[in-house]
């Protein structure tokens, strides 16, 4: 099995996983999904009627009964398009098809800055901000985690530190830490901006714009890292220590190689596929709970959007977020698997 077959196999597995997890989500949210679809149809019918009435005002060529008939026909076509009048099996396939095409209907209240109420458009506007924040945090987290994990392999002080940050990792809510950092560093000390993504009004110059984003991103990143780094470096440390017990390390020592060469060249190389797997899990874990950090920092991402949707009972947006994040998470895990495939020499060699 070469790398290509590995990728192909993974693509198939992940596609089937996508269908399965979407189905679980579909089953669990079935009642509200139907309600959302009904409301969405009503909204579309209303818009259709509006355009017809405007057309009539302009040209006056159609009368009221004709409009009524057209509207009814349009409504029926929508109902069958969404599969509402079909048996449950057909309904499932039609609605899953819609979901996989990011067709989540129309939001009740929220809208994208462009004015569109389509849930897909709203989420598409906010998602890049979330990905920006989370990928930055994850990359820094992985780098720091590997460094600290390797340092602790032959240093007692770093082992103590890892113990402490591991406790912090599993007992501190990130969003609470963020809350306190805002209160202290943003409002009392005034070092960082208290929230948002860019200063208001946004700078015109793209360079200044980037700086402003970095300035706003610093505090969320700091709080995500304080909490996050403990978990990952702990995992790296235990992987490294277990690899250090392997025979090839003893051979390397016997050959008289310096400790640092053994650690950074041989051990890290051997442990990297496992580290990649753990990194994937770390990303998956941080993604679900970390959304609240956006709420606290008013970062205009998916988490913030979800909070708005909850406070306004905007069901279509809530459903859309759940479906989209499932897909995003799956893509993240898939990329992690690809990294694993690249790092593990056995896969390349086709064993």
């Amino acid at each position: 099995m070469g790398f290509k077959t590995y990728v192909l196999k993974k693509v198939l597995i992940y596609f089937s996983v996508l269908i399965a997890s979407m189905t679980i989500l579909y089953v669990f949210t079935f009642p509200i999904l139907q309600q959302v679809i009904y409301k969405s149809i009503e909204y579309q019918v209303l818009q259709f009627e509006d355009t017809l009435l405007k057309y009539e005002e302009k040209y006056g060529s159609i009368n009221a009964t004709e409009i009524q008939i057209a509207v009814e026909k349009y409504k029926e076509s929508l109902i069958s398009a969404y599969g509402l009048n079909k048996p449950i099996i057909d309904k499932y396939f039609i609605q899953m098809y819609n979901l996989l095409h990011f067709n989540f209907g129309y939001a009740y209240f929220l809208q994208a800055p462009s004015g569109s109420k389509a849930v897909g458009t709203i989420i598409a506007y906010y998602l890049p901000n979330t990905i920006l924040l989370f990928t930055t945090a994850t990359i820094i987290n992985i780098i720091l985690g590997i460094i600290i994990g390797l340092l602790s392999a032959n240093s007692k002080i770093w082992e103590k530190i890892i113990g402490i940050i591991a406790v912090i990792h599993s007992s501190l809510p990130t969003w609470w830490l963020g809350f306190i950092l805002i209160a202290y560093l943003a409002y009392t000390m005034r070092i960082f901006p208290p929230g948002g993504m860019v200063s208001i009004p946004p700078p015109k110059n793209p360079f200044d714009y980037g700086l402003s984003v970095l300035d706003h991103m610093a505090l969320p990143l700091i709080s995500m890292l304080i909490v996050g780094v403990g978990g990952f470096s702990y995992v790296v440390r235990s992987l490294v220590t277990s690899t250090l017990k392997e025979d090839f390390v003893i051979t390397a020592k016997a050959r008289g190689l310096p400790n640092s060469t053994i650690l950074y060249k041989h051990v890290l190389r051997a442990a990297s596929p496992a580290i990649a797997t753990q990194a994937i899990l770390a990303v998956a874990g941080s993604f679900g709970g970390g959304l609240l950090i956006e709420v606290i920092f008013e970062w205009p991402g998916i988490g913030w959007l979800t909070y708005q949707a909850i406070s306004q009972n905007d069901l279509p947006v809530i459903l859309g977020v759940a479906y989209v994040l499932t897909i995003v998470l799956l893509i993240g895990l898939f990329l992690g698997e690809l990294a694993y495939g690249l790092l593990d020499p056995r896969i390349k060699a086709g064993e």
Binding site: S21, S171, P173, F179, A183, S238, G289, A322
Partner: protein, 450 residues
């Protein structure tokens, strides 16, 4: 695993000599005692938590009372004064006058944020007036509007009389009226434009005129403090320490239930996968992956709009999403157990596969299971409190996450209400930390790591 010392009692001995584990255990015992206290609180207190009217007489968003140690004279607590004298006189047949008088010494550098008056009498009064005498002898006359007769009322309800007084002294009408402003008119000296508090003896008389005989049934004067209790109060005057106590049982409950269910399911599924191997292992791994891709928080939010979760349902839903992590760990542990010779030996002896699994295989996963049960509690607690922060919590339960959410809504971070943010969050950390300590200690004792 240690070869020489095996068995529960030796594990227990090791655990009790582990400082981290002992610290965790001590915290947990204290928390359980407080949980017992919280459970003995009658349910009407829990209901009152969500009723702002129940907290009317409490000072609003004030810091803890022990702040007065660091800032003497600046912070003080509420004072409830009983009348020093009640006199009832009748003037002829149809005129009765009752005078409820209070006297108190005010030695603080600041006026109280608000003052509450309460006079209950058996008849409807014809007229009610407050005579407020300051230490310098000035008397302010404040007419009580009829809507406040036989009710508890504060300075805002009698604002017109006080505003007239302010106007007579400063010559201009105040632009915004708050209870703090009204109180400063009553307590601060007019010479300093109501900026310096007059210290000394105050006397307050409440006069009630009625056409029928009066009997005062209850009366007190409440000088609201600017600090309260161990942890201060929130925007509605609810004491934070009470909220933290009320939130303890369900935080522990959800955490414990989540960890037991998710770890048991996870270890069982992971154990089977590791034990069976081959295609069955691949199939189980696929199922694990499916559940791993469901984003925890958005999924729980979406489902909570289908059914409003109860405490048990919420715990089960969280477990439903969090078992895959433990299954992955258990599977890799199972794979290493499987490589032991005894599994092979059992097979050769012809022992049925399921018996090997239950009597020889799974028991070896028990130490890991116990450790992860302790380590899984914080995960459940953090998740349920995060949900509560988003406004999704079992009905009629007090949640620290919810308290933090109202702190966020009322801009506690910008207004400097630090006690409202620190204490509920710190409780989440302390409870989680107790279980993390215990879990780490168990893991060290049983697996010889850390």
């Amino acid at each position: 695993m240690s070869e020489i010392r095996i068995g529960f009692s030796s594990y227990l001995k090791d655990f009790l000599s582990n400082k981290m584990g002992l610290a965790g255990l001590a915290i947990l015992i204290v928390l359980l005692i407080f949980t017992g206290i919280a459970l003995s609180i009658p349910s009407n207190v829990y209901h009152a938590w969500f009723n702002p009217a129940a907290w009317e007489e409490y000072p609003r968003h004030v810091p803890p009372a022990w702040m007065s140690i660091f800032y003497p004279g600046k912070y003080f607590t509420s004072e409830n004064l009983s009348p020093t004298n009640i006199s009832i006189k009748s003037y002829g047949k149809n005129l009765y006058i009752a005078i409820v008088s209070y006297q108190f010494n005010w030695s603080k550098k600041l006026p109280p944020p608000d003052v509450y008056f309460l006079v209950y009498c058996n008849t409807t009064s014809g007229e009610e007036e407050i005579y407020w005498t300051k230490p310098d002898g000035n008397t302010i006359e404040i007419l009580v509007p009829s809507s406040s007769y036989n009710e508890l009322f504060d300075l805002i309800s009698v604002k017109s009389g006080i505003i007239d007084y302010i106007f007579s002294v400063t010559g201009k009408m105040p632009s915004t009226v708050s209870s703090e402003l009204l109180s400063s008119a009553l307590f601060n000296s007019p010479k300093s434009d109501f900026t310096v508090t007059e210290q000394g003896k105050y006397s307050v008389k409440i006069e009630i005129i009625s056409l029928s005989p009066i009997k005062i049934t209850a009366s007190y004067l409440l000088l609201i403090g600017n600090s309260y209790g161990l942890m201060g109060t929130d925007y509605f005057g609810r004491p934070i320490d009470l909220g933290i106590l009320l939130g303890l049982p369900n935080a522990l409950g959800i955490g414990a239930l989540t960890s037991v269910v998710s770890v048991l399911v996870g270890v069982f599924v992971g154990g089977i996968a590791g034990y069976l191997g081959g295609n069955k292992d691949a199939a189980i791994q696929w199922v694990i992956l499916v559940f791993l891709t469901l984003p925890t928080l958005p999924f729980l939010i979406a489902v909570s709009f289908v059914v409003r979760p109860s405490l048990v349902l919420e715990a089960l839903l969280i477990s439903f999403l969090s078992w895959p992590g433990y299954a992955i760990i258990a599977r890799s542990a199972a794979l290493s157990i499987k490589s032991n010779a005894f599994v092979e030996a059992d097979k050769l002896l012809g022992i049925p596969s399921y018996r090997v699994f239950f009597t020889h295989f799974m028991p070896r996963l028990i130490p890991m299971t116990v450790a992860y049960m302790a380590l899984a509690v914080p995960g459940g607690i953090l998740l349920s409190q995060s949900l509560a922060f988003l406004g999704i919590a079992p009905a009629n339960t007090v949640n620290w996450g919810e308290m933090l959410n109202s702190a966020y809504t009322y801009q506690a971070q910008a207004n400097g209400y630090w006690w409202w943010v620190i204490f509920p969050g710190l409780m989440i950390v302390i409870v989680s930390m107790a279980f993390v300590f215990i879990g780490f200690a168990i893991e060290k004792v049983t697996l010889g790591e850390r």
